[in-house]
């Protein structure tokens, strides 16, 4: 029987990048085309964005997805 794969936990540096660019959640949300609550949920780890939104965020900050999002195994 195959072993159950370990759960992965997504972490992100969105709040750091946002602070570096001196943007409020509202401003970033408007630029990306989502609601402020969604930016808050991503930063807080309550919501994992779709690949499309992740690419949009990476493109907006002129960086790679890996520079914003990373995964680690849940203990």
């Amino acid at each position: 029987m195959s072993k159950c794969p370990p759960r992965l936990k997504m972490t992100n540096r969105l709040h750091v990048l946002r602070a570096e660019h001196r943007l409020t959640q509202e401003q970033l949300a408007r630029e990306i085309g989502v609601t402020r609550a969604t930016i808050g949920a991503i930063e807080g780890g309550g919501y994992n964005p779709s690949l499309e939104l992740a690419f949009r965020l990476a493109r907006f900050f002129n960086t790679e997805i890996n520079a914003i999002f990373s995964v680690e195994e849940e203990k």
Binding site: V34, A37, T38, G40, A41, G44, G45, G46, Y47, E52
Partner: protein, 204 residues
């Protein structure tokens, strides 16, 4: 949504208070003594009847559009049920809340179906009809009709009996059940949505 539908919807909504007033007038006209009613009032009542008939035709048309037009349904029902899908996160939350609502509604429907099929009664029969000297009887029935059928005379019912407790089918009208289910859908969806948003905040 077609422009025509949008106009008719506005006529329906903005005309609603006027229609209620006209319906009250029509009802009070019906209560009045005909000998005291002037010709002008009779003419006015005819106009009110025509207006109500037109408004009802509009209601039927809008109901048909709700069933067959996807865009009209999305716009009208999404507003009535407070569905918000501003971005992908809200779409995902809506999906989860809708799933919860669908499953709970299905559970309620199954329960109501069971209640509508089930019949139980405790009653006393006269001593001459008693079986083995027992005058207290428990009767359990389970069955359903797909179509409304006229009830045939049951020999048990003609028998002289005193009901102690009797439950025969759901004590709600079909209109009442439909209205309750509509309200349930809206309440359940909004409650699930609130709970999902709270869970999201708790994870932070």
């Amino acid at each position: 949504m077609k422009r025509w539908d949008s106009i008719l919807l506005k006529v329906f909504l903005y005309g609603l208070p006027a229609v209620i007033i006209l319906a009250i007038f029509s009802y009070s006209y019906g209560l009045g003594k005909h000998s005291q009613i002037s010709d002008k009032l009779t003419l006015l009542n005819g106009f009110v009847g025509l207006t109500l008939a037109l408004w009802m035709l509009l209601l039927i048309y809008l109901n048909i559009r709700l069933m067959f037009s996807g865009s009209f349904r999305n716009k009208v029902l999404a507003r009535i049920t407070f569905i918000k899908e501003a971005d992908e996160r809200e779409v995902m939350l809506t999906g989860k809340a809708t799933k919860t609502t669908f499953l709970t509604s299905l559970a309620i429907l199954i329960f109501l179906f069971f209640l509508s099929c089930f019949q139980v009664s405790f009653y006393r029969v006269p001593p001459e009809k008693a079986i083995d000297g027992k005058t207290r009887v428990v009767s359990l029935n389970f069955g359903f009709n797909l179509l409304k059928a006229s009830r045939k005379g049951n020999p048990d019912e003609t028998m002289q009996k005193t009901d102690i407790f009797s439950y025969t089918r759901l004590p709600l009208s079909s209109t009442g059940v439909i209205l309750l289910l509509i309200l349930w859908q809206i309440i359940s969806y909004n409650f699930s949505m609130q709970r999902l948003i709270k869970d999201e905040h708790r994870l932070r």
